[in-house]
């Protein structure tokens, strides 16, 4: 992050730092959203209906918290006479974080509708896709922490790893959809499974979008 001794510059950049601190909290909540989604998938694979229901409820709760944080950050960015130099990038970043939670919640909603046990091959591929989402969000979290510590080089490395995860998630979506198509399922389950695959890949897409904004902030701060 850039720093300035000029008082007007300092005020703007300080506000940028405060927004990034809130963004860090937002990432934590987003991370928890994904973590609960992972637990929901694990519970579903294990046939634990109660555990799945509870985890999906927690995904919803985390998504609500992320929404509240997003509103707070947008308010902070839009009010005040002295604002951060990167306010537009930060505004996009805040929205991209919110989309991660939104899409995770969307995926959880679809999962909630799937009651029938899916074929083992599909479950295996779902598990791989979930791990990719989780690795991706963990790397994004590390990237934000690196920016906060002014370790811009590490932040860019972390963001590049998020990008690599997204690429793997793209491939995994293809594999998962292939497995779904080959599996013997009734029409509603097939449709829901396909939608779940779409949403899960969407989550990694949104994580990559957020990582792109972290890169922008890091590169501009150099």
């Amino acid at each position: 992050m850039k720093e300035s001794r000029n008082i007007l510059g300092w005020l703007g950049m300080k506000q940028e730092q405060l927004i990034l601190e809130d963004a860090n909290k937002h990432v934590e909540v987003t991370y928890q959203t994904v973590e609960w989604f992972k637990k929901a998938i694990q519970a579903y694979i294990a046939g634990d209906a109660e555990g799945k229901k509870k985890a999906i409820e927690m995904v919803r709760e985390c998504e609500r918290q992320a929404d509240a944080l997003r509103s707070k950050m947008v308010d902070e960015l839009s009010e005040g006479l002295l604002v951060p130099p990167d306010r537009e990038d930060l505004m996009h970043f805040v929205k991209s974080l919110d989309r991660i939670a939104d899409w995770t919640n969307g995926a959880a909603r679809i999962l909630d509708f799937i009651e029938a046990k899916l074929p083992q091959a599909v479950l295996n591929e779902l598990s791989v896709a979930t791990d990719l989402i989780f690795t991706s969000i963990a790397k994004l979290r590390e990237g934000i922490q690196s920016v906060m510590k002014n370790d811009l080089k590490q932040a860019i490395i972390d963001c590049n790893e998020v990008e690599a995860c997204e690429s793997k998630a793209d491939d995994q979506k293809r594999v998962l959809i292939g497995t779904i198509i080959k599996a013997k399922m009734d029409a509603p389950t097939l449709l829901l499974s396909y939608q779940l695959a779409e949403y899960m890949e969407g989550v990694t897409d949104k994580i990559e979008d957020a990582a792109d904004f972290i890169k922008v902030v890091a590169i501009k701060s150099k």
Partner: protein
């Protein structure tokens, strides 16, 4: 040896002038550039020219305070006076450099006042505490006064503007006021801040006040031209979001505020004055500008500065004393 000391003192004073120019020119024109009514080039020309004028026409009052008002350098042994001047410039310059590297919003006025007192104390020279207390009270009043002036001025100014100025001339009149207020602020900035770089140089008898004002003003201009552009651009394009009328009133209030202190020869922070003024116009509009955490950090940096620069200059004097026989 004394020529070396004089050369180092001038170098350190020049550095402080350069740092002032590089960092604080944005306070005079940043908001105007941000409002789109002034170009960066125009801003640089205005700050260079009018800070120079302010320094040479009105700078001598504050120069006298820093050179003779805190520690009466003119009554001391000339070598002692030069060493105090060198230690003060070095102390203030070092602290300003540390602050720049750490991104701390410190004031060079506060740094030099603390450094002069610190160096004077190290020698056991008479420090005029009454004057220091007056200066300290003025430091507290600087942002508050600017905020009050801006708050009082904004509504009447706005009403008068829209009552008397026909709509088709709005833009032209705004541009006129934008330039007029930034010129006024740059003039007062030069008049008050040139002393930070040159007050002790005059006090130690190295130069007289007019020569020191020209020397300091040139250092400030070099600061504006070499590095000030970048800071002006960051502040102008990235940070301030003042509407033109708000920028005009903020600069006018800040200029009036600094002008008042300059007439009394008090070194104050023009940075704190402009921030106070921006807060003042913001309050009229009910806009939150800074939160408690930010205010806390500003006050911390502000309070720390005179003590930190004073401690550095104190140590420098003690260090010089180890190698040079002083006052003999």
């Amino acid at each position: 040896m004394s020529i070396l000391l004089i050369a180092f003192t001038l170098l350190a004073g020049g550095y402080i002038g350069w740092a002032i120019g590089a960092n604080d020119a944005a306070n005079c024109v940043g908001a105007d550039i941000g409002s789109g009514k002034m170009t960066v080039k125009q801003g640089i020309i205005i700050t260079c020219f009018f800070s120079f004028l302010g320094a040479i026409l009105l700078g001598s009052r504050v120069i006298k305070t820093i050179g003779k008002g805190i520690v009466p350098l003119d009554t001391l042994d000339p070598q002692v006076a030069v060493i105090i001047a060198l230690a003060a410039c070095f102390g203030a310059g070092t602290w300003v450099l540390i602050a720049t590297l750490r991104g701390l919003p410190v004031s060079t006025s506060h740094a030099i006042v603390g450094a002069v007192a610190g160096a004077g104390l190290a020698f056991g020279a008479p420090v005029i505490w009454k004057k220091l207390l007056d200066i300290f009270i003025c430091w507290v009043l600087t942002p508050v006064g600017a905020a009050v002036i801006a708050y009082i001025l904004y509504r009447p100014f706005r009403r008068i503007f829209y009552f008397f100025v026909p709509r088709k001339f709005n833009d032209a009149v705004i541009v006129f006021f934008i330039f007029a207020t930034s010129i006024y602020l740059a003039f007062n900035w030069g008049a008050n801040d040139v002393a930070n770089a040159t007050g002790v140089i005059t006090g130690a008898g190295i130069m007289n006040a007019p020569q020191a004002a020209v020397f300091g003003a040139i250092a400030i201009i070099i600061g504006i031209v070499t590095f000030g552009r970048k800071v002006i651009q960051t502040v102008g394009f990235g940070i301030t979001r003042l509407a033109p009328l708000m920028a005009i009133v903020a600069e006018l209030a800040s200029g009036l505020n600094v002008n008042l202190y300059t007439l009394f020869g008090i070194p104050v922070s023009t940075s704190h004055s402009i921030v106070g003024a921006v807060v003042g116009v913001g309050l009229v509009k009910g806009i939150k500008m800074v939160n408690k955490k930010m205010i806390g950090e500003i006050v911390f940096a502000w309070s720390l500065t005179p003590f930190a620069s004073g401690a550095i200059s104190f140590l420098v004097v003690k260090l010089i004393g180890l190698f040079v026989k002083i006052g003999g």
